[in-house]
Point group: C3
Chain length 119, copies 3
Amino acid sequence: MTVRHETITVETRRREETIDITPRVKAAVTRAKVRDGIVAVSVAHTTAAVFVNENADPDVQYAHAEGNGPAHIKAVLVGNSVTLTIRNGAIELGTWQGLYFAELDGPRERTATITVIGD
Amino acid sequence: MTVRHETITVETRRREETIDITPRVKAAVTRAKVRDGIVAVSVAHTTAAVFVNENADPDVQYAHAEGNGPAHIKAVLVGNSVTLTIRNGAIELGTWQGLYFAELDGPRERTATITVIGD
Amino acid sequence: MTVRHETITVETRRREETIDITPRVKAAVTRAKVRDGIVAVSVAHTTAAVFVNENADPDVQYAHAEGNGPAHIKAVLVGNSVTLTIRNGAIELGTWQGLYFAELDGPRERTATITVIGD
């Protein structure tokens, strides 16, 4: 069994922003050479989050960050980690799905950790 | 260590609906013959979700889908994957807990992926 | 590969309350002697949840439990499990991050399960 970590840096430019990190997570999975397993992506920040959803429509991405609740609450509701299946060497994502980093109190330099575990 | 995937099909019949997939996930865990580990259940859709909660009261299940936000936002808030413990060959679920598939923009034919990892 | 479970008991004293379980989860990871892997923390209750966020400001912790929605809905939105990376024998948590148990319908005696998987 393999366990492999990578930390990526995400440079945000606005107070609230979502950034597509799908290509970087896919690349980390490829480098881990794991055919079957899972990948966990997490953020070590209290005002940032990660989520899986549509990559075609920016409005959809931003809507979750609207309103007047504080960034911490948004981070709790969106969540700070996602776990996805790796099958035949690829992340199991739907046609319209992407993996997004949500900045909720930027701009800042942020990091996300990608952990791949499997065979 | 074993890594085993199964994909199940979920046929939804309404615009918003929750469907109990607990028996099917339990059966997948039994087939994987894993005594100790974890099981990750995820959906590869941007307007569907999975969650763990009560299976006794349908009203509870539907309430999360009320309101006027779009299905994408609901999917982000509810989440597209859950991770549960497998202990002594069984999923660690509370007496009142079940695993539910949430349709947020149906009816459609949907799928969910079950990945078991452990010994 | 190691898979190790621990169940901890959480005694809540109020109807809505968050309890810092970070030290207990860290201790469980140390006892598991896993250097690289993941840890999944989950609750087997339908009106309790776990989340990762700030440990410095109690107001932040309680805010997510405000409003008039029922405890079940809050539990679904906050989520019943979190998955974190274990790297070099330690849980990868940010400076301001802690792991919290959220009581949403207490007071009660609750449990949480910690599963460590890795090498």
